[in-house]
């Protein structure tokens, strides 16, 4: 299951892979498969939607990749269109997704993905839960540094973009091996996004003759140009590169120019992304998610120290009994429900608030509810969560119904092609709101867990056992992750609806980003849930022997120094 996440990262272009490596390993067949994958993901995630332009496009691309050139005129047309219109789009994009680059990377993990897609149930939760779980198992306890992690990843994505630097490519080109395989190359360029130039050049460079070893750069350039001419005949998406080649006589110059362009683009993008506040990590911090996570981690760590010290002070039968009980507690934390929680998803939307409130009350953590819940309608720190969730849902509903209503009124207007007027929310708006909502909901969930930890440690008498609490908390985790999952699906539905007229290379990265951040959110929530284990362990121990409480405070002062 971990591999799915890995794939996801690759697809979203978050892990810069060594392209040199790829050149050595890659086969052209893998190359063409790579283009299936983005479409594949979308089909998996948007299965409910019957008419999503993205899928259609991705699917036809797939056909194009596997068919002979004469049969794929349709897909060729599409890619031409993408190619021609991609340039102005580049400057408005926020997320650093680059189609061809990620495709290249994805190719490396293709075999893994193939088996994955068979295993993954097509039900939303199975899909989410399973990779959430894999994240869980791989997640370290260094939660406090999560924020840095997020920004690091994003920075990496921003700076790397999976693009090989021309300087790396040039020596690569000198020693490039393999015969020119124009036919294969024809089929390898159906996608031509903003990085079309690069993927084409790099492939061309790679496919430039084994026979040229001593010919020098001039000869290579000559062959490279020849090769590209051959490629270009069957690949209209290649036109731009060809144009570049005609204008600039040497390959090295093209590469340098492309690099400069790339740098500028990255710079613009970094600025815009920060300005427009679609940075999940920053938003998560803004909603105090990081602080709550850090605080929860502190409580967790303190509890862990206490548990260890108590265990070391016990021996014999007493120790064995306690160990057994702690083992049971741990089992409740294994989130086994994730797999058989499919019916849960069929529940109505309105049930989330009810469910989470009910689950929280089952925890019986507030011994003096009148003091803790002054506000009407439940716990004071449950309300932001519920509120955040409801706001998101209301927004989605308005966003989905508005354009539809207007569409009915002026159907002809839509055909005339004025989507900007019809859809009040641009795909960028939806994307920004989606990321914001995910960050807020996650921050609120973490706050809920942190407060729960504080209350569990605070409450002296227990009406419910630690194991019962653990089970309830595990249900809460499932409910929260389910909610994130359905929310991200709704947002992507919004995106696909609003982005009917958008090109795949604009829309796909936004959809990917929403899914990616939803997966991050799920993993933070599950990390936070795991941090509760030591807290419940200490609560179990304290409940067993109330006298231990005092003893313990003498034994283990809270500070380490």
């Amino acid at each position: 299951m971990e591999s799915l996440y890995y794939f996801f990262c690759l697809y979203a272009n978050l892990k810069p892979q060594s392209l040199n490596n790829f050149y050595q390993k890659s086969l052209y067949k893998e190359f063409s498969f790579a283009f299936i994958l983005p479409g594949d993901v979308l089909i998996m995630s948007d299965k409910d939607d019957s008419e999503i332009p993205v899928i259609t496009e991705a699917t036809s691309v797939l056909e194009g990749a596997n068919c002979e050139p004469p049969e794929n005129s349709e897909s060729v047309d599409q890619s031409t269109e993408t190619e021609n219109k991609s340039e102005p789009i580049v400057s408005t994009r926020k997320r650093p997704e680059s189609k061809p680059a990620s495709d290249i990377e994805t190719a490396e993990v293709f075999p893994v993905q193939e088996s994955e897609s068979k295993d993954v149930p097509q039900t939303g939760w199975g899909y989410w839960g399973s990779w959430g779980k894999s994240l869980l198992s791989s997640a370290s306890a260094t939660v406090a540094t999560v924020g840095q992690g997020i920004s690091n990843v994003i920075e990496k994505a921003e700076t790397s973009l999976g693009i090989p630097s021309p300087s790396e490519m040039s020596p690569e080109a000198k020693y490039a091996a393999g015969e020119t395989n124009a036919k294969d190359n024809e089929n390898s360029f159906p996608m031509a996004g903003p990085f079309g130039v690069f993927s084409t050049i790099s492939t061309a460079v790679q496919s430039t003759g084994k026979t040229v070893i001593t010919g020098g750069l001039d000869a290579l350039e000559f062959i490279g140009k020849k090769t590209m001419d051959v490629i270009a005949e069957g690949d209209p998406g290649f036109k731009r590169t060809k144009r570049l080649m005609n204008r600039n006589s040497t390959l090295s110059q093209v590469l340098r120019e492309a690099k400069e362009k790339e740098e500028l683009w990255t710079y613009n993008e970094v600025t815009m992304e920060t300005d427009k506040k679609t940075h999940y990590g920053l938003l998560f911090d803004e909603f105090q998610g990081l602080s709550h996570l850090e605080a929860l981690e502190m409580l967790s760590r303190e509890s862990e120290i206490k548990v260890k010290s108590i265990l070391s002070s016990l021996s014999g039968e007493e120790l064995q009994t306690l160990k057994l009980e702690l083992e049971q507690l741990k089992e409740a934390f294994s989130l086994a429900e994730f797999c058989d929680e499919e019916e849960e998803e069929k529940k109505g939307d309105e049930d989330f608030t009810k469910e989470i409130t009910e689950l929280f009350s089952q925890l019986h953590v507030s011994s003096k509810p009148e003091k803790l819940t002054r506000r009407a309608g439940g716990c004071c720190f449950l309300s932001p969560l519920v509120q955040a969730r409801n706001t998101a849902h209301e927004w989605i509903i308005t966003s989905l119904t508005k354009p539809l209503a207007e569409e009915e009124e002026g159907g002809k207007q839509l055909e005339a092609g004025t989507p900007e007027q019809l859809n009040k929310n641009s795909v960028e708006d939806i994307h920004a709101f989606a990321i914001r909502s995910l960050a807020e909901l996650t921050a609120c969930s973490i706050e809920l867990f942190h407060k729960t930890a504080a209350l569990v440690l605070h409450s002296q008498k227990q009406e419910v056992t630690a194991i019962e609490r653990s089970r309830t908390l595990s249900q809460m985790t499932v409910a929260l992750c389910n909610e994130l999952s359905s929310l991200s699906k709704e947002f992507t539905t919004c995106l696909t609806t609003a982005g009917v007229k958008e090109k795949a290379d604009v829309l796909n990265p936004l959809i990917t980003a929403v899914f990616l951040e939803a997966s991050n959110s799920a993993s933070y929530i599950q990390d936070a849930f795991q941090l509760l284990l030591p807290v419940l362990e200490i609560s179990l121990i304290e409940n067993k022997t109330g006298s231990l409480r005092q003893e313990l405070q003498v034994q283990t002062p809270l500070s380490e120094h």
Binding site: S151, E155, E158, T159, E263, T266, Y267, V270, T271, T274, D275, L282, Q288, S291, H292, A295, M298, L299, E302, K371, L372, R374, R375, C380, F381, H450, K451, A453, A454, L455, L457, H458, Q460, Q553, P557, L558, S559
Partner: protein, 212 residues
């Protein structure tokens, strides 16, 4: 968003002395007479400028209730500054200061800057603790002292900012090891970006100009 330093603060003191109100006044510039009881800890953040440098204050507002005491102690670690608050209209809150101070000193780093705050200075008629007493206590224990009113906002800014100034001076003097995050100080992305790529650096600076 882009800051030179981030300081972690904790606010401690008896329940009802106005810790949460001080935070709200500082972060939101408003006063809320009735406040929810703080559970464990609440958070607030604000950007301030000292010596031309952007400093982000990350404030941990702890629960004052005695029953939460063992939990709130967990939060002390890694704080660069502490606001120790008492209520000038309640002598018992002043009498408890020694316990709070011991707690704070024991569970946080020795360089932590502590600001003693006598809150509710607007309620002069109900005053039980003289200003001189507060000053004397602060002098005795090496604290900075100030009387504030979260209601009228009097001295609230100053309390937070003066604490930050003190921390900043300690950094300049080399007392704080800023690379050790256990001291409650983080170096902001602006500083860290010095070695970053050309593109990243420019992006960061521009972002800094956009906010705050």
């Amino acid at each position: 968003m882009a800051y030179a330093y981030l300081f972690k603060y904790i606010i401690i003191g008896d329940t009802g002395v106005g810790k949460s109100c001080l935070l709200l006044q500082f972060t939101d510039k408003r006063f809320q007479p009735v406040h929810d009881l703080t559970i464990g800890v609440e958070f607030g953040a604000r950007m301030i400028t000292i010596d031309g440098k952007q400093i982000k204050l990350q404030i941990w507002d702890t629960a004052g209730q005695e029953s939460f005491r063992s939990i709130t102690r967990s939060y002390y670690r890694g704080a660069a500054g502490a606001l120790l608050v008492y209520d000038i209209t309640r002598r018992d809150t002043f009498n408890h200061l020694t316990t709070w101070l011991e707690d704070a000193r024991q569970h946080s780093n020795s360089n932590m800057v502590i600001m003693l705050i006598g809150n509710k200075s607007d309620l002069e008629s109900r005053r039980e603790v003289k200003k001189e007493e507060g000053e004397a206590f602060a002098r005795e224990h090496g604290l900075i002292f100030m009387e504030t009113s979260a209601k009228t906002a009097s001295n609230v800014e100053e309390a937070f900012i003066n604490t930050a100034k003190e921390i900043y001076e300690k950094i300049q003097e080399g007392v704080f090891d800023i690379n050790n995050e256990a001291n409650g100080i983080k170096i902001g992305p602006q500083h860290g970006a010095t070695n970053a790529t050309h593109a990243g650096n420019q992006g960061g600076q521009q972002a800094g100009g956009g906010c705050c």
